[in-house]
């Protein structure tokens, strides 16, 4: 794309809080977002991620705290003056306008010359590959196409920051993966800061530079996908991002991912077993098997095994040995 890489886009969120009546929706969130970063706010519904995004966009007043863009506070700047692009949940396209008019709207309300608007819209249509749909109305487009129009519209005025509120929520699973790739690709090309809200952990893992896990209005843990997956600090993070077993050890609670456990019939392993138990159930998922093992003492452990690794088939009620390397289990800093 011809437009220059934005020079702005460093956001600094300081002690940001939002109260609705007595309910504290966002509780003293601190967050530094680098220019050009792809940051995901991930959390269950009600965790405050959308509220946080709406405060950044300027649609909600700030109860306490501040937001800086490149060193200057934007807390008192109204939404229409913030110049942040936004892709809304459900897209919020203008139904009475064509795709071209939708994408050109931001420049049109800024009273830019017609020729400039046309050139920019053409450029955006190229970016999202909708050249052939310029004169259609949103109602005549598929969900994926509408999503791309919303993206092109949000990027049309070269905003320093793009906010995305569950933009893929309305798409079916197969299309979602495709659009994830396109989004990532567009992010790499234009270098705009992306702040992405989702409750889908796979989406967060595959797209983000960094992920913020939110819970009850607070940031639970911030880090790269790898850090969060490999070194979760709390039980909540470990179980929200992927699956995890939790083992109570004398020195604290450990998280252990199901795919990092080796399973074999009792007594057939190379070394001593860390745990022994009885197979309660086996579920076949094609590429892998999910085995639930009952351990003496009432706990259960979930084990994911690549199907091709199993030489002798496991059966229900069988005694098995479980082993894993020291690095596989992670001590949780918080419960």
């Amino acid at each position: 794309m011809a437009s220059p890489v934005p020079t702005q886009g460093n956001l600094n969120i300081r002690d940001l809080s939002k109260k609705f009546g007595d309910f504290l929706a966002v509780d003293k969130v601190n967050l530094k977002i680098e220019k050009g970063e792809f940051l995901t706010l991930l959390g269950p519904s009600g965790s405050g991620k959308t509220t946080l995004l709406m405060m950044i966009a300027g649609f909600l007043d700030i109860t306490a705290g501040d937001i800086d863009l490149d060193g200057a506070s934007i807390a008192n700047i109204p939404a229409e003056k913030r110049n942040f692009g936004m892709v809304f949940q459900g897209y919020a396209l203008f139904p009475h306008m064509t795709v071209r008019e939708n994408i050109g709207y931001a420049l049109s309300v800024r009273k830019r010359p017609v020729s400039e608007i046309k050139a920019r819209v053409d450029e955006m249509l190229d970016l999202v590959q909708l050249q052939d749909f310029a004169d259609r109305k949103p109602g005549q487009l598929s969900g994926g196409q509408q999503q791309r129009v919303a993206l092109a519209r949000a990027l049309s005025f070269a905003p320093p920051v793009l906010l995305l509120d569950e933009p893929l929520g309305a798409l079916d699973k197969k299309l979602r993966v495709e659009v994830q790739d396109q989004l990532k690709d567009i992010h790499d090309r234009i270098g705009t800061t992306f702040i992405y809200v989702t409750h889908d952990q796979e989406e967060a893992l595959s797209m983000s530079d960094r992920i913020v896990i939110m819970r009850d209005g607070r940031t639970e843990q911030v880090g790269t996908p790898l850090e969060l997956y490999e070194k979760p600090e709390s039980r909540f993070v470990a179980s929200f991002l992927g699956k995890s077993n939790f083992l109570e050890q004398p020195d604290g609670l450990y998280a252990l991912r199901p795919e990092k456990i080796d399973i074999c019939a009792a007594g057939t392993g190379a070394g001593p077993a860390r745990l022994t138990g009885t197979v309660r159930s086996i579920t076949y998922f094609g590429s892998m098997l999910r085995v639930i093992v009952d351990i003496a003492g009432g706990t259960e452990v979930e084990v994911d095994v690549d199907s091709w690794r199993i030489n002798t088939p496991l059966s229900k009620g069988q005694k098995v040995d479980l082993t894993w390397s020291d690095a596989a289990s992670v001590k949780l800093a918080r419960g």
């Binding site: 939404a79 139904p95 309300v109």
Partner: protein
């Protein structure tokens, strides 16, 4: 039955009784009126020729159209503001406001018309108060003129204007307005470029509803106009029951019927009427 069913969809048998009912009690009388307008008192287009020949008749029709247009403009403008306030009010307040709209909807038109006389008549509350304070020396002529008719009609019509607009505004996705602001549009720009176009179906519906209902108004012009503002409905009444010229009355009725149908036809050229009357836009 079997052979018939081959040519006619069985659904028709289900609706047939109602079709007959509509034909007998609705289409029949209308056709009768049309027939009368061409045959009474003598066969021919004599009744319609009056439209050219009688200045009085033209004046009555012009008064009717003028009053209806002004009524419609004010009712729809007021209705738009009220509906907008209701949609954006807190839920408790909205229900209260809806209550007020519906109460005035339910009160008899006679009661409402005469209360205006009490309020704004020569010896009404307002004029008395003004005279006592000394703001005016002569009572202001609110009533027994076109102004009186307009006040009464607009007051009666506002709920009719509010309801279609309210339905329309409630279905709007407010995220679209947020999107407009996010893209840098001011409140004014958002209203003219997004909100107004999206509420056009409601505007058209309430305009049509108010205008068509206004055309047939009888009580309010008769009472508040004080005999000075003669409109078509009152004139038809006089022709029917006083001067017994049924042909002229039938002609005027037919004229209004086709006027309304013509209006609907013209509107249908500009937009899908189904979207106006509750269907969804594609």
């Amino acid at each position: 039955m079997k052979t018939l069913g081959r040519y006619i969809s069985p659904g028709w048998f289900l609706v047939a009784p109602f079709l007959l009912l509509v034909a007998a009690f609705y289409l029949g009388p209308i056709l009768n009126i049309l027939w009368l307008s061409f045959t009474d008192p003598v066969p021919g287009v004599g009744n319609y020729r009056e439209l050219y020949e009688s200045d009085a008749l033209v004046r009555i029709i012009w008064t009717t159209v003028r009053v209806c247009i002004v009524t419609t403009v004010f009712s729809v403008l007021l209705g738009y503001v009220i509906a907008y306030a209701m949609v954006h009010a807190h839920e408790n307040k909205r229900n209260l406001m809806l209550g007020f709209v519906l109460v005035s909807f339910w009160i008899s038109i006679l009661v409402r018309t005469f209360s205006w006389l009490m309020l704004l008549g020569r010896n009404g509350l307002v004029n008395n108060a003004f005279e006592t304070i000394g703001i005016v020396s002569e009572p202001i002529a609110f009533m027994r003129n076109e102004l009186g008719v307009l006040i009464g009609m607009v007051h009666y019509m506002v709920p009719y204007a509010v309801l279609p607009l309210l339905v329309n505004m409630q279905t709007l996705d407010m995220r679209v307005m947020n999107a407009s602001r996010n893209l840098g549009a001011s409140g004014t720009q958002t209203f003219w470029r997004i909100y107004l176009p999206l509420t056009t179906p409601g505007l058209v519906a309430s305009t049509l509803l108010v205008f068509i209902l206004s055309l047939g108004f009888y009580v309010t012009p008769a009472v508040l106009g004080g005999g000075k503002v003669l409109m078509v409905a009152e004139y038809i009444y006089v022709q029917l029951l006083v001067t017994l010229q049924w042909g002229t009355a039938a002609m005027l009725a037919a004229l209004m019927l086709f006027g309304v149908l013509g209006l609907l036809y013209v509107m249908s050229r500009f937009m899908k009427l189904s979207t106006v009357f509750g269907g969804t836009a594609s």
